[in-house]
Amino acid sequence: MSRTQDDTGAAGTAPLTERALTPLVRLGAALSTALILATLALTTFSALMRYAFDRPPVWVDALNGFLLVAIVAFGVAEAYRRNDHISIDILTHALRGKARTMAAIFSDLCVLAFCGVLGISTWESIEFARMFGAYTSGAIEIESWIPQVPLLCGAVLLGAYAFARLLGHLFGKGRT
């Protein structure tokens, strides 16, 4: 059971496959971080326009919702890379050697499967929404598949990283 923080920089000791993907994952993290600052600016702007100028921008709320999806999608792979996710390791933390690698492989497979499910489902959802001609309702009316695209990117990015980690666990002697 822990939130294993890995601040020493995974890149240094990680297997080649993980290192190869790291720049892309960090790019996603930078985007996600920038979007958090953007929601801060937007929310402040909205409050200011309403309170000080009596001109509330109706679109900020809706945009913040879409941005939040993007923040998660682009940041999730980085959080996984830094082992920020929470897991229950009461049983597994005592494992050593081969058993520990097996547990790590199982974990990689589960995350990969999760990404597969989310990615396939999002792909289908985007396809259907385009076919149907669905629009978001509310203050921002755009084709409803557009704000779902980041979710697809997030599933692919996290999936790719989980796959890289899996390869590392299967073939590398790197850390577990």
């Binding site: 309403r50 509330p56 109706v58 259907f128 669905a134 309702s137 203050a139 009316e141």
Partner: protein, 310 residues
């Protein structure tokens, strides 16, 4: 074995339309001799309000209820009734179910990819709430921060000089209490159930918009039903449409007195005030909405016929 029909909607269980939906569900089960097992999931508990339409169209669930605004740009004709003051005549709604106008919209929904089974009128009477001075005529709206409704309707509000704001429903009460918002537009019954009377003291009843819900099924699921089940849905749909109008009218009539009993000032907008409001709001709404397109024009014409009580 009964066929499960999962129905999602966004309303809290105590809402008058939610109660009509529950009654409709029982009626469908009874009339279909138990062939359909209607499972109602209210309050966004299964599928969110924004996702209902696609979830039904895709067939993830069999049935959902949406309020007209939800269709937005996906099927704009569904939201024509948000045109300010255009649908205030109660005869439109009493004569709605089974009318040519309803059939016209049902056909539009079918070609979009869902099968409409029931129309549930909610209200054609709204209230403008505020603190201090009532929001009756256009001049009262200058600079007032009011929670918006849809882009086209907001254009109408802006034409009055008001400042439409966006805010989650659960925050409106607080915003009205503290003055983040200056006023609200809501159904008379919702003004009661959401306790707006605690934080607002002026209520102007005005037929500015009509609100309706409608229930629709996945077309494949509908086609797969037996004739008995289809007939049951048809009959239950007609019955529920009447229940909804009755419930809506009753709530509409009772609401002003109930609000007054809470110690706030309630008045009904005069014909002149409504006309003045409409004169400003309609052109702005029409421009944003594009009501002159042939479909909208046709629907508005069919709606005109309903007023004569045919």
């Amino acid at each position: 074995d009964p066929t499960a029909m999962r129905c999602s909607h966004q309303l809290p269980p105590a809402h008058s339309v939610a109660k009509v939906i529950d009654r409709w569900a029982e009626e469908v089960e009874t009339l279909s001799n138990g062939e359909i097992d209607v499972q109602v999931f209210g309050a966004d508990s299964l599928v969110g309000a924004n996702e209902n339409i696609l979830a039904v169209a895709k067939g993830e669930i069999e049935c959902a209820f949406s309020v007209q605004f939800q269709w937005g740009k996906t099927l704009p004709i569904m939201t024509v009734t948000t045109a300010p003051y255009a649908f205030s005549d109660m005869r439109i709604w009493r004569n709605w179910d089974g009318s040519e106008a309803a059939g016209f919209l049902e056909e539009k929904l079918r070609s979009k990819g869902v099968e409409n089974v029931v129309w549930l009128f909610q209200t054609n009477s709204s209230v403008f709430t505020s603190k201090g001075k009532p929001l009756a005529g256009p001049e009262d709206f200058k600079g007032m921060k009011i929670r918006g409704l849809s882009p086209a309707f907001d254009a109408g509000l802006a034409a009055l000089g008001a400042a439409p704001s966006a805010m989650p429903g659960s925050e409106v009460y607080q915003a009205l209490a503290t003055g983040v918002l200056d006023g609200a537009l809501t159904g008379a019954d919702a003004a009661l159930s959401r306790k707006y009377y605690e934080v607002q003291d002026q209520f102007v009843v005005s037929p500015v918009i009509s609100v309706y819900f409608h229930g629709y099924l996945n077309p494949k699921f509908y086609q797969g039903l037996s004739d008995t089940a289809k007939a049951a849905l048809d009959k239950a749909g007609h019955e529920a449409a009447l229940w909804a109008v009755e419930a809506g009218e009753a709530a509409q009539q009772a609401a002003p007195a109930e609000l007054e009993a809470k110690g706030v000032a309630v008045r009904t907008a005069t014909e002149e005030e409504n006309a003045a409001m409409e004169a400003l709001m309609r052109p702005a709404f029409d421009e944003k909405f594009g009501t002159e397109d042939p479909d909208s024009a046709k629907l508005l014409e069919l709606v005109e016929q309903l007023k004569s009580g045919a």
